[in-house]
Assembly symmetry: C2
Homo-oligomer: 290 residues x 2
DNA sequence: GATTATTTCTGACATTAGTCAGATATCCTT
DNA sequence: AAGGATATCTGACTAATGTCAGAAATAATC
């Protein structure tokens, strides 16, 4: 069977699905164009110029759609304090509520599909894989508090994976869990890779007196193979330079051969054991140029 | 992380993708409505009434779009010989060429996504899973020649799966491969389950003098758990009645416990070995009421 | 400070999409 | 054969979307 036949089927299936979602959006009594603008603003695209680019709309049309949403009382448009030509759109309270209603419609449709499927986790994994493949160009790496729920979520998946891959399992309490303060500025940092707001990877820099440690490097299964690890490691190194930490170390385990290979590939030197943590058996360091 | 957040991300990713595909369709100088009609006809939806239902179009609009395509010389609309009220749309040669161009655009986009992905087979499997989940209501079961490429494709996957699951592997040459003629009317039949044209399962009825045998029951991994096996078995039984074969038998293997459980569930009785094929070790029969 | 570029907004207009009410021909049922 | 239902088509209309040109304000450049 031709691979393209499968993709055509996928295209048609999602096209119909998107069509169904769009017509359910119409039930809220607003044309699709306005609904799309409202949703884009709700998702944080306030900048009118970016909005126009993201939705590929003519400036005249954009302007009229915003006037329409304003007269509905859902949106206010303010001047950009940094550039008097630009304007910024914000949702009013009513606009927030309306945006939430659109999210609810979309969620209801999603929950319906999910509930009918025999293997929900397989379906979610497939959706993640495809969403990542389609939005890979737009994955962004942002700093984040190590106690943020999104960070905790990544770490939970990271620990679960270690537990599955280490022969004797993995108990985070036996390992030295870094203090959150060591992974926050000014001592260190915690980075998340976000694909359209969903975390698909993380990495931490734990500051120290003699050297800083790279910890918790993890990529979601759906996002592997996209070169995300390199992006994260480069961002970590940039953050380390920023913080004046030029001597980096990390530890890992032979049970994770792709990690070991990766550190070699990224210019890390293998060194002797430098701590007594029970899990790692491979140790690396890298010295950065300022 | 909330499952719905993942689905929202998926929704947004495919919405954007569908939007991009639609605007590439516009490049062919024809409004989207006409393009959708042309594509639906090209995919075999000639019946104007079905076309209207599939695309959810008003009869007036449909009529006008067809007139437009006719005046472009892409489509001819004929009377339905079976029902004078109905009409049937067909692509002219120019229409076929134009349809092929749309397919090419869609394929190019698909190939682009596929080529950028590190694990193409995982991406295809994910697409299959989702397409099946979204179109499960529209899976149709149709008779098909056992030598049709789509049938052969299913059988190849079926044999590969047996080879993986049987301890000593599976060599189709050691098993009694039924003659194609025994799986064609008037002796037997071969059924395919099609989801938007892509085969996602099959089952065969091999006619015989004393009894007919059910063979080659297979469901694609992406389509499992949807109750497709029951649909296929019911269709096989209906075909058997049609052909006057009321005594059915089948053989299977303990290495396929879900198949064994299924036959019990569907009212088959386990019986003694009735052939000397080396692979099966479980044997069933079922007597149908006329 | 003059010139050029950028951003938003408005007006005028064209195209596309969607809706509704008949008209006509045919089919189905009794 | 009559009456009701169905499928398509046409005309008349409305709403939505897309396009273009230019005005006004501000920013960037020289």
């Amino acid at each position: 069977m031709d691979a393209l036949a499968h993709i055509r089927r996928f295209n048609r299936a999602v096209t119909r699905q998107v069509g169904a979602l769009n017509s359910s959006f119409l039930d809220r009594g607003r044309p699709l164009g306005s609904a799309r603008v409202l949703n884009a603003i709700g998702r944080g695209q306030g900048d009118v110029a970016k909005l126009r680019q993201a939705l590929a709309l003519d400036s005249g049309l954009m302007s009229r759609l915003l006037r329409g949403l304003e007269s509905e009382g859902l949106v206010v448009v303010e001047d950009d304090p940094e550039d008097g030509r630009r304007r910024i759109a914000l949702l009013t309270e009513a606009g927030q509520a309306e945006f939430a209603e659109y999210e609810r419609l979309s969620d209801a449709q999603a929950a319906d599909i999910l509930s009918r499927h025999p293997d929900q986790s397989a379906l979610l994994a497939a959706m993640d894989l495809i969403a990542t493949a389609l939005t890979r160009a737009e994955i962004e790496i942002v700093p984040c508090d190590p106690l943020d729920p999104r960070a905790r979520d990544c770490l939970a998946q990271y620990y679960a994976e270690l537990a599955a891959r280490f022969e004797g399992g993995f108990d985070v309490n036996l390992s030295k869990d870094p203090e959150a303060d060591d992974m926050r500025p000014p001592r260190g940092t915690f980075l998340l890779a976000l694909s359209d707001g969903v975390p698909v990877g993380c990495a931490a820099l734990k500051g120290g007196a003699d050297y800083a440690e790279v910890k918790r490097v993890w990529i979601a299964p759906a996002a592997r193979g996209l070169g995300l690890a390199r992006q994260l490691m480069e961002a970590i190194e940039a953050a380390a330079r920023e913080l004046g930490q030029l001597h980096l170390r990390l530890d890992t385990n032979s049970a994770l051969p792709e990690a070991v290979a990766m550190y070699h590939r990224f210019g890390w030197d293998e060194i002797d054991r430098f701590n007594d943590d029970p899990y790692p058996d491979r140790f690396f360091e890298k010295r950065l140029n300022p």
